[in-house]
Amino acid sequence: MDSLPLYLLPLLPLLGFAVLMTLPRLLPGKTGGWLATGLVGAAFALAVLRYLNQGAPAHEVLWTWLPNMALNANLSVGFWLDQLSALMALIITGVGFLIHLYSISYMGHDPKFTRFFAFLNFFVAMMLILVLADSYPLMFVGWEGVGMASYLLIGFWFSGRGSGSSDAQERAASDAEAVSNSNAARKAFIMNRVGDLGFMLGMFLLFKLYGTLSIPELAERVEGAQVAQAGIELACLFLLVGAVGKSGQLPLTTWLPDAMAGPTPVSALIHAATMVTAGVYLVARSHFLYDLAPNASTWVAWVGGLTALYGALSALNQSDIKKILAYSTVSQLGYMFMAVGLHAYSAGVFHLLTHAFFKALLFLAAGAVIHALHDEQDVRRMGGLHQFMPFTHLVSVAGVLAIAGIPVWSGFFSKDAILAAAYEQNLALYLIGLGVALLTAFYMGRWYFLVWRGAYRGHGQPHEADTLTKIPLGILAALATLAGFLNIPTFLGGGHAFDTYLGRAVPLHAHEIAASTEWRLTVLAVLAGVLGLGWAFLAHRRNALASGPLGELSRNSLYLDALYDGVVGHPSRAVAGGLDTLDRATDDALSAVGRNASAPGGLFTLWQSGFVRAYAVSMLLGTAGIIGYWALKTIGSGT
């Protein structure tokens, strides 16, 4: 069965996109959603088959894409399947399938139901191209493709959900929502473009250095090439800019929280589980470069560490149920960056895996809550929901425990691996990581207690989610709980199964920490988690959770957004206006030169009186003059 070609993986969802976009009328009701889900499910089955029959890395070339590039670097459209991309493909199709399934219920009443699934399918296809690409330009296709899908889906409710309403107030609210949704979508795309420029420049530099952009070729050439160290470092930094843009790391982070304007399944799939991890994937995929660039790697790690801190601090006092999770995503992505920056690729990717499970779970649970409360998203108007939605409550507990790093849930194992790597290499980063673990547990505890515990503070009758919603929630909860056992470290008696698997694609830097130290680190990490949850519990008992620590500073996410708007947004708009004026002025100046040049011509128009007889007189005088001159000349010469 391993002869099933790789291109089927992205092709299936792409077909779904094409069919759903062009023939929506053939798919009445929810058939479109089921078709899309089925196709992603088929892709998942395919990914599983390829995973089971995996041997040496597979390289399948389809057709020549950019032929005749100088220096004979012919670029093809080809796919590359090794352990890393196989794992990513499994996550994307697996989690993607579950979220498709969830969306059938969640988006069931939306008038653009079929369109939504078309975009979701498009996203899955592009994401698969991204991870399976055998060259950087092809990866860039997926890279911008997922950005496009993200743009379309954040702006899915681009005209507001109540635009048809006759009630003036409702309409005004809907119009405001329309503007903010559209702005969020645009912001995401533009900030991603900033990163994309970095990615492109990285490619250009790599091409200049090595003369190829194909990843397997590059990996070979890097070994023996005599290239200036500064060049590699710079190329890695360029790639880092790209990764930062896509993964919402500092300084390009502000689009990710805004991206929550999209429907909740989108937040779960794109802005938590898959797309935003593309930056981590890029660094892991380019490990052969980062291994040669210690400075750039340190940059990666510090970007990750600072972002983890930034995200955690910003999450402390949010009141939107999804915003808390969004900042948490920013923070967790920071952990992954920290790991890959410290060359602990396997730890980073492992956290990527577990994070995909528990964060998708938390988002989907949040979605179920939002649905149950009729689009209420403010946690201050929730509370006590465990009595109304027991099942969703249960799975949320699993998610919270996983992200807080409580043993045996999956987050415990993955976060522990990252902290161990940090401890070994950089104590400052380790301390940041530990502090962030504490903050994470606190804000997730705050989220949990505000939503599920205490008294119900809203109005309207919440209802439990339906079966179709429960299935993905249940599966994800199970995965979030158990996925950690894939990679039990040695000192706990495990065999590092995950590391061993991934080690065939990316280098493992086995850390050499004594088992006793490792025990101590683990205890510290768990302690941070427990303390954080306990802190949240105490605050909950004092009813002091509604306004979290750091007050306005955290609520406005350290004023980064305002800073960017002031430093970049407004000035660039002003400059655009100024340049326009300047352009017209240049034009006017040139026109003025033209007018002045033609001014002397105006004198001659005085002659043009418009009276025929005046012309006749001037003709007569002219003729007389000529004849007279000629006659005088003749007479003169005659004498």
Binding site: F189, V194, L205, R573
Partner: protein, 480 residues
């Protein structure tokens, strides 16, 4: 002389014949006749492509003056001619739909098509000049007949810039022949008798003047926004105007082989100017509130990229420049038409209409896809062009590639901002009911988009067509 030798000539003059035929065609058949002639032209072009391009066809036109009729369609010129034929066909389709009693418009489109294909086919500098000026007349007439209230000012400006540039070019053309001592104006002869030394630089500058106006390149671009703003609301003349931006092609085919030393000498300045044009135009586009002006500046920004590629003299970049030059016509042209459709429905060209997509989903969707093509999202033809240009330019001057690269961010900003305020956000209460696309409008927007996607995904046929031509031109530089 076989039939295939006549194909380029056929392709050049078929539209003109159609244009004249329209004058005697009864009113109700004019649409069909014009469409048929345009389709026939496109067919002739495809036939040439199938034959792998044509040989040089040469005939002594005015022997005493050394002017020959030398035409050849192959490589880059064939690709550009094909796109021109396709977009003229699309323009005719839309003109037939949109404009009541479209006879003069159809005639002018066809007449202009002749001039444009002639520009691409000409292999004689004088012939090139003739076609170059020939294409100007229909463009001016379209503006004069169908333009808006400020058309005369725009027309004078357009004509003044173009003619002034052309005059300098004519002087250069004559200079190239007599100083170099070539027997005729044909490229084959001129290449044997290159002008050397400082004279080459001066002649290059003269030639550049005309091409910089036509590219256009900052600071000689001022005619462009007014030209587009004042043209007919339907956007049809704008499609032809976009096709008429042949400066990049002229520089590539004539300037580089004839002025190799001067091109190398002026490379840093010109590349800087080009990169600046790209960024400057994109930034201005960000501040526009009129769709036509916005598209004009967007097109100017693309031309900055094209110029950057051509001036860099790097093979990858030059291929990319020609690729972008050819295929930007598809989506820029189609965007002008989509703006025309928008104007027909809302009665306004303002970018602040709001919420059109809630009612006209297909118009909004196709426009968005065309915008994505325009801002060079991978998978569309524009990306191949821009990526190759930047990749090549980076190998020459990394910093200039970086400056031009910022344009890609600015492009996303202006495109999405204008799109959002027109098509997204809320429909104003009491706003007009906006009908969605009907009949041929689907084809008019869908066909260019489909071609742009096809050549973005599977670019080999077009690249294989262009690459030998580019390599041949660049070898004149001594294998840079």
């Amino acid at each position: 002389m076989t039939f295939t030798d006549w194909l380029p000539t056929l392709m050049i003059f078929l539209p003109l014949a159609g244009s004249l035929l329209l004058l005697v065609t009864p009113k109700r058949f004019r649409d069909e006749v014009a469409g048929f002639m345009a389709a026939l032209t496109l067919g002739a072009g495809l036939a040439i492509w199938r034959g792998g391009g044509s040989e040089l066809f040469r005939w002594d036109w005015i022997p005493p003056l050394g002017i020959t009729y030398s035409v050849q369609l192959g490589g880059v010129s064939l690709a550009l001619a094909l796109v021109t034929a396709l977009m003229s066909f699309i323009a005719i389709l839309y003109a037939a739909r949109r404009i009541p009693n479209p006879g003069p418009m159809l005639s002018l489109i066809l007449a202009m098509e002749t001039g444009l294909i002639g520009i691409f086919a000409a292999q004689d500098l004088m012939l090139f000049y003739v076609f170059f000026e020939d294409a100007l007349i229909p463009a001016l007439l379209m503006l004069a007949i169908y333009g808006k209230s400020g058309r005369m000012a725009a027309l004078v400006k357009f004509a003044a810039y173009t003619l002034f540039g052309s005059l300098l070019m004519l002087v250069s053309i004559i200079g190239v022949r007599y100083i170099g001592g070539s027997p005729t104006f044909a490229m084959t002869d001129l290449k044997q008798n290159l002008v050397q030394g400082p004279a080459q630089t001066w002649l290059y500058l003269g030639f550049l003047a005309a091409m910089a106006v036509k590219l256009p390149l900052w600071p000689l671009h001022a005619w462009l926004p007014d030209f587009h703003e004042q043209n007919h609301d339907s956007g049809i003349p704008d499609v032809m105007g976009t096709l008429y931006k042949v400066g990049g092609y002229g520089l590539f085919t004539f300037a580089i082989p004839l002025f190799p030393d001067a091109s190398l000498e002026l490379r840093p300045i010109l590349m800087g100017l080009a990169a600046f044009t790209a960024l400057y135009a994109a930034w201005i586009a960000f501040g526009q509130t009129d769709w036509k002006r916005l598209l004009a500046y967007a097109g100017l920004s693309h031309m900055g990229f094209v110029a950057l590629g051509v001036f860099s003299l790097n093979e990858t970049a030059v291929i990319g420049a020609m690729y972008l030059l050819a295929f930007q016509n598809l989506y820029t042209g189609a965007l002008f038409l989509s703006v025309g459709m928008l104007q027909e429905r809302t009665g306004s060209l303002d970018t602040r209409v709001g919420g059109v997509m809630t009612q006209a989903g297909a118009l909004g969707g196709l426009t968005m896809a065309l915008w994505f093509a325009s801002i060079a999202v991978p998978g569309m033809a524009g990306f191949i062009g821009e990526f190759s240009i930047l990749l090549g330019a980076y190998q020459v001057f990394p910093w200039l590639a970086f400056i031009a690269g910022i344009t890609t961010i600015a492009a996303a900003a202006y495109a999405l901002s204008a799109f959002q305020t027109t098509f997204w956000q809320a429909r104003p209460a009491g706003g007009l009911r906006v009908p969605d696309l009907v009949h041929t409008e689907w084809l008019i927007l869908g066909l260019p988009l489909a071609v742009a996607v096809l050549f973005g995904v599977y670019s080999a046929p077009a690249l294989n067509l262009m690459q030998p031509a580019v390599r041949a031109v660049l070898t004149a530089l001594g294998g840079n």
